[in-house]
């Protein structure tokens, strides 16, 4: 339990750093050049660490299924949706929806046991938890916008 929570906190902190670094790259070039660089770097880093940790075992892929190759394209879908969402809604609103949507789908797929992952039975309390967290995201992200508008009025 503690290890899992700690790992999730590490992942979130690194995503925050990565988003800031990526936006620095994006200031100078387009979103596809940035995406290609980011995924290329991620590939090289994973390959390097994998080789250090497992040596030639890294290339033993007995249980490989064809759709595993395709799953890498989900990341491309993420970029398309985020770029379009931000263009149409502005960053603050778009990101608030993206983050809340991540949570809603997390709960959905936990309850379904998507891809044969361990099923976590749906409870009403979990739904309330998710709604409170999503509310927190909107307060965090949009609170400033409302304060700003008040100052203008």
């Amino acid at each position: 339990m503690i290890v899992g929570l700690l790992m999730a906190l590490i992942a979130g902190s690194l995503i925050s750093l990565q988003n800031i670094f990526n936006s620095k790259v994006n200031e100078r070039t387009g979103s596809w050049a940035t995406t290609s660089l980011v995924l290329g770097m991620g590939f090289l880093a994973s390959l390097t660490i994998g080789l250090i940790m497992e040596g030639s075992h890294l290339f033993m892929l007995q249980n490989m299924k064809p759709w595993y190759w395709a799953s890498g394209t989900i990341g491309v879908g993420v970029v398309i949706c985020l770029v379009q969402g931000i263009k149409l809604l502005g960053a603050t609103y778009a990101i608030s929806i993206v983050l809340s949507s991540q949570l809603v789908f997390a709960l959905l797929w936990d309850s379904l046991g998507l891809f044969g992952l361990e099923k976590i039975p749906f409870t009403f309390m979990q739904l309330i938890g998710v709604v409170v967290i999503a509310g927190g995201i909107f307060v965090f992200k949009l609170g400033g916008e409302i304060e700003k508008q008040k100052a203008y009025n």
């Binding site: 999730a8 590939f43 994973s46 890498g72 993420v78 985020l82």
Partner: protein, 141 residues
């Protein structure tokens, strides 16, 4: 409305990515999953870049080298995310992840680290993070 759908789908894809990686790593290992999915993602993104040509590679020279390596963090992100999902499930993983993500971005913005324009902290941000933590406590009930 279209923007909302894009944003909603974007969030769905981000979580789907984590769940798919968690599933794939059960079969072939976590580093293998990270290597393979990013290789195919890279190839597809590069092919799109060839069509849209929305940026020159040369402009990468104008960016500080540290920022160019941000993508490498994904190796550790995927590893920790997959481990978290296996240990505590998707909902709790995503919740804790988002709290850490928003809190660190908040810390970076109020301090103006990495040359980011300094922002004032607001009460609403503390309330927001407090609500998110309260939500995680509810999840465990």
């Amino acid at each position: 409305m279209k923007g909302i759908i894009f944003a909603f789908l974007g969030g769905a894809f981000i979580t789907l990515q984590g769940v798919a990686n968690a599933r794939i790593s059960e079969d072939i290992g976590t580093w293998q999953a990270a290597t393979i999915t990013q290789l195919t993602g890279f190839i597809v993104a590069l092919s799109i870049l060839m069509f849209v040509r929305d940026g020159k590679w040369q402009s990468f020279k104008e960016v500080k080298p540290l920022y160019l390596t941000g993508g490498a963090l994904a190796a550790l992100i995927i590893f920790s995310n997959v481990t978290a999902i296996h240990q505590i499930g998707v909902t709790l993983s995503v919740s804790a992840l988002l709290i850490a993500q928003l809190s660190l971005t908040f810390l970076i913005e109020i301090n103006g680290w990495f040359g980011i324009a300094k922002k004032k902290m607001r009460l609403s941000q503390f309330i927001g993070i407090g609500m998110m933590i309260a939500g995680v406590v509810l999840l465990r009930y």
